[in-house]
Symmetry: C2
Subunit: 341 residues, 2 copies
Amino acid sequence: MDKKATLKDVAAKSGVSYQTVSKVLNGKANVSAETERAIWQAVEDLDYRTNAAGRNLRTQASRLIGYTWTPAPPWQPNPILDSFLSSTIEAADAAGYHLLLFPTHNTDDETETYRTLARTGRVDGFIVASMDYDDPRVLLLQKLNFPFVAFGRANADWEFPFVDVDGRAGVAAATRHLIEQGHTRLALLAWDGRSRTGDARRNGYFQAMEEAGLSINQDWVIQLPGDVEAGIEATKTLLSLPAPQRPTAVVTVDDQLAIGAMRAAQSAGLLVGPDFGVTGFDDTPGIQHYSPPLTSLRQPLHEIGREIVMRLIALIEGRTIPESIILPPKLVVRGSSLRSQ
Amino acid sequence: MDKKATLKDVAAKSGVSYQTVSKVLNGKANVSAETERAIWQAVEDLDYRTNAAGRNLRTQASRLIGYTWTPAPPWQPNPILDSFLSSTIEAADAAGYHLLLFPTHNTDDETETYRTLARTGRVDGFIVASMDYDDPRVLLLQKLNFPFVAFGRANADWEFPFVDVDGRAGVAAATRHLIEQGHTRLALLAWDGRSRTGDARRNGYFQAMEEAGLSINQDWVIQLPGDVEAGIEATKTLLSLPAPQRPTAVVTVDDQLAIGAMRAAQSAGLLVGPDFGVTGFDDTPGIQHYSPPLTSLRQPLHEIGREIVMRLIALIEGRTIPESIILPPKLVVRGSSLRSQ
């Protein structure tokens, strides 16, 4: 059975009265968690939709946009949260919408909260961030035909509306900048694990090195977790290479790794900038006051927030939405990558 | 006329039909902004309440908590947002509530958004942060008898539920720590303007100096905006004092000022820590990687978030709430305040 399932079918399958099912689907009944689960299971099994257009199971608009993020550890700055949130809530407010925040639960099924919020009509749509390959949230929301716009992309052949930053172009620009400073032996600190964002940033280094005709020593590419301690350890390893193979600069895919690289180089007695070039990614607020100030790539967060919200509201309201876009980050050059200070 | 006003009175006074008034008060009508304003004006003039307990003008719970904050400038880290938000949304979620974010508008009347959200029943209560003396949001929400819990305090004789951090005790601990390091000439960088939080922090310095029997040179107390540049300028001024009056350490009321103090001292050729002690406030994520790492005061943000949400939900649900509390910040000692490294 598919597509033509009715509310009656859902009631029959879940063993709950028609009235109760109707109320639950409209977010108006207080029933046991068990009953609710049975109803939603039946909705899912039967692929039930309240109307042909599949405009979800809601009776009226909530004018709320759902958003969550993975909090940084308390000792680590969140480079984007303040700017991204303030730009999205401003843009949403201008259109009469508000942002609803919900926590990321570390359960077996990370899509559970999305499903509940969508089905109960608590929100009209989602901003989905921290995107990755095979992202189960994309699969779920597409299945529910529920509005969302992603900050980032997933698998190349998946189609959904997104706004992204060109990480490859950013890291390529940082790499070229170090090459222009006279470096020919450049290492890369990139994230371990599979990650579309990480892959893009890493490939920027490969692209710029190839364009410059520079060969890459296999010891120069280190994949690691994105934190300061990992950056310190990896840079120590790089600096212990025999002199002819030792890199004189390191390109990184995030500021935490770059800070680690700076600290390890300084511990080894090198002057960061003149002796050893370092670049980061994110332009984390505050890094302009490090010693030396860190060169980094700044994402246009206000523009990203606005562009995402504009698309999402158009989608919610059934209007045509502009094509997805990939915005360039800006290289902000500071002392950590300059040979002469 | 007061207290006993009816819906009919509101209709008569605003010149709008009984039915329309009823719908607007329940957030269900789309009327012109003018009509809506007339109705709310009448509600306010007549001090109209839907029921004796004054439990707002809502027909049903939204299970949403309203929150806003003043975004930091893009180049300045927000020391608390990530931890505070993640702790509040976790605590709210556990009780079946979500956080609704709204922007701070720089209009003539900063309470306008609070009023609208309260009256339309968009939220069940507010977390009110960035508190200050004579805070108009407190006056409004008390007048509307609308649930809120404050992060911080206002006038000493105002009574409302709050969770606060003991800024005085924190800065006193930092000052004592510098005195224990052997400093006797300690300056203070404090915020200009009136601010309850700023006053408490400033007074911590006065308290600790008095307890230690140290006299304060009038040139040592500088009031300024809380940013790095102001901290640099003020510290330059301190370092230009004649040698016998020149301070050897500076206590500050925020990390941005402390970073400015470190930079100015370093520009003057001083070793921060051994030659010149510096302490901050907020333990901004990332300051542990400055050169030298910055000594600061850490607010217990996760506890603060939980305590605020717990009180607010009890208030919304009509339960007794625990007394307001003042939590101690923790002094985190690092190189910037240590004489021997």
